[in-house]
Symmetry: C2
Subunit: 320 residues, 2 copies
């Protein structure tokens, strides 16, 4: 069976729809319904397979990573006051904030329960990686919120933020899969490094597409990040390299609330004439290369790394 | 060293004040500052000592239970929109709701990290008890919120709610302490039963004092539960046994918002003439007896159960 399908079936079998109190578990069921890419558990299973591990045995742990990821989305959506997620109204809109807080807490505990289904001999190591990862994600979210209140964020700070908020969970999922398959410490670390670079590249590609995507296939309006003043790669890079005149114009636009169309057009223009889009694509390539390099260093008696390498290629050219 | 002091020193040594990002960890440091009774870790260490275990080795796990407890208070205070806790402004008042949500999440993860410091051979059992306990606490909080929106709650439903919201964490702390000391399954279960009954008795004594406490020593205004229509022991018991005339009067008052002084006086009068206070004291005694009975059944080669028995006696007569 395909990994994605295995994860879907496992999550479906957890039976949150029937658990009581319904007020606590119906939102858990709601956010775990099909629709996501299940990227984290799939990566975990891919790493497990790579080193010849038992994917079925790894499945509860992999599912725990997906439950954790959805817990972070649930709480982030309250903090960001987001109305929609994956085309559906968010939990705090369908129910309320208190429900979203408490159901999220229950999901974090459920995630730990699933991760704790790792074999006894690996339990300490697996839960240790998971906890370190979970702390990193919280720290990343805090930096993201901190940056919203600051005027200027350095590019290096931005990269560190997305490393924590996005990349460590992908890396942790891969490392846990490798650990479950009994890979060497060195190979586990290589999978982790692959995941960190993949995660950063993924987010930078997101940043690129938000401004420079193909409007016919991108699916949402271009320039959302510019309109809300998001300190992403493009903006933090621009603040480091723009010549004085463009810098002054960029700062002027960043202080303006509203006039979205005009602002997006003007800032995109500044980016274009300073090759910021190209620099972002270069950075994506750089992190993709690092990911592939970590992957190619894997030494164990392994199955093909082709699937993991293909993910990098897909990421680099994705349009949505 | 006294157990309370051991816990304080351990928590103080965790160093949250210095961790970065400060926006995430300063609130964690704030809520963990001295002031609480540290009842849960102290119970854990008492159970460990009872069976001759190594208290120092149990300390990180015990501290994890305190971190978990404070996480629940932090998130509950957002949900209840509470302004004060232990004489200090709550985190969401000092900072904001988003900070309180995210710092709470980080605390739950920190709690798991500390609990995971249990010896490898006991790790699976200890984290299993902890996760079951944590889920119970969330379910109890959900029932508590559900009950606020209902007109009538049965006494048995109320007892089940406080069992989950309050008692299972005391019971879990005791059981974990016993497990860490290598007690038999039967004795671990006895400590758990002791904790459940202690916890329920504790909450019922709270309910009693809120209406019938000695105003000169109670410390806060009597009748707070009546004013806000809290479905506690007194109210749920009254709904089960009042004669028609008093029932009608009670229902009338419960529909009234405001007129607090009058409402408290009238409902207290209804309780008094139907001996609801006495019935509550009887229930406290009943749960205290069950706690002592579970304690006296402990069979292992144990140190004195005197300290745990004394806690029951103290609870039963406490005025604040």
């Amino acid at each position: 069976m395909e990994k994605h399908q295995m994860v879907e079936e496992y999550l479906g079998g957890l039976g949150y729809a029937l658990r009581r109190p319904q007020g606590l578990y119906a939102p858990v069921d709601y956010v775990l319904q099909e629709g996501g890419k299940r990227l984290r558990p799939v990566l975990c299973l891919m790493a497990c397979e790579l080193f010849g591990g038992d994917e079925k045995a790894a499945l509860p742990v992999a599912a725990g990573l997906e439950v954790f990821h959805n817990f972070t989305l649930l709480h982030d959506d309250i903090m960001d006051n987001a109305d929609m997620r994956r085309g559906k109204p968010t939990v705090h809109k369908v129910w309320d904030s208190n429900t979203a807080i408490l159901s999220g807490d229950a999901m974090l505990i459920e995630a730990y329960k699933l991760v704790s289904e790792a074999p006894a001999a690996l339990l300490s190591e697996v839960t240790g990686i998971f906890s370190t990862t979970a702390t990193g994600v919280c720290e990343g979210q805090q930096y993201d919120m901190d940056f919203e209140r600051r005027d200027v964020v350095a590019l290096s700070e931005y990269i560190e933020m997305i490393r924590l908020k996005t990349a460590v969970l992908l890396a942790g999922a891969l490392k846990i899969g490798a650990v479950l398959a009994g890979a060497s410490d060195e190979d586990c670390q290589r999978l982790y490094d692959y995941g960190i670079n993949l995660g950063i590249a993924f987010q930078l590609r997101d940043d690129y597409l938000d401004t420079f995507g193909n409007p016919e296939v991108f699916g949402k309006k271009l320039g959302g990040d510019i309109a809300c003043g998001k300190k992403n790669y493009l903006l933090t890079k621009a603040f480091e390299i723009l010549p004085p005149h463009d810098m002054a114009e960029l700062k002027k636009w960043m202080e303006i609330d509203g006039r979205d169309e005009e602002k997006i057009a003007a800032v995109t223009g500044i980016y274009r004439r300073n090759d910021i889009g190209k620099l972002c694509e270069d950075a994506v390539s750089e992190y993709c290369d690092k990911a592939l390099s970590a992957l190619s260093a894997v030494e164990g008696n392994v199955n093909s790394t082709g699937e993991l390498a293909a993910l990098v290629a897909k990421l680099q050219t994705r349009q949505v």
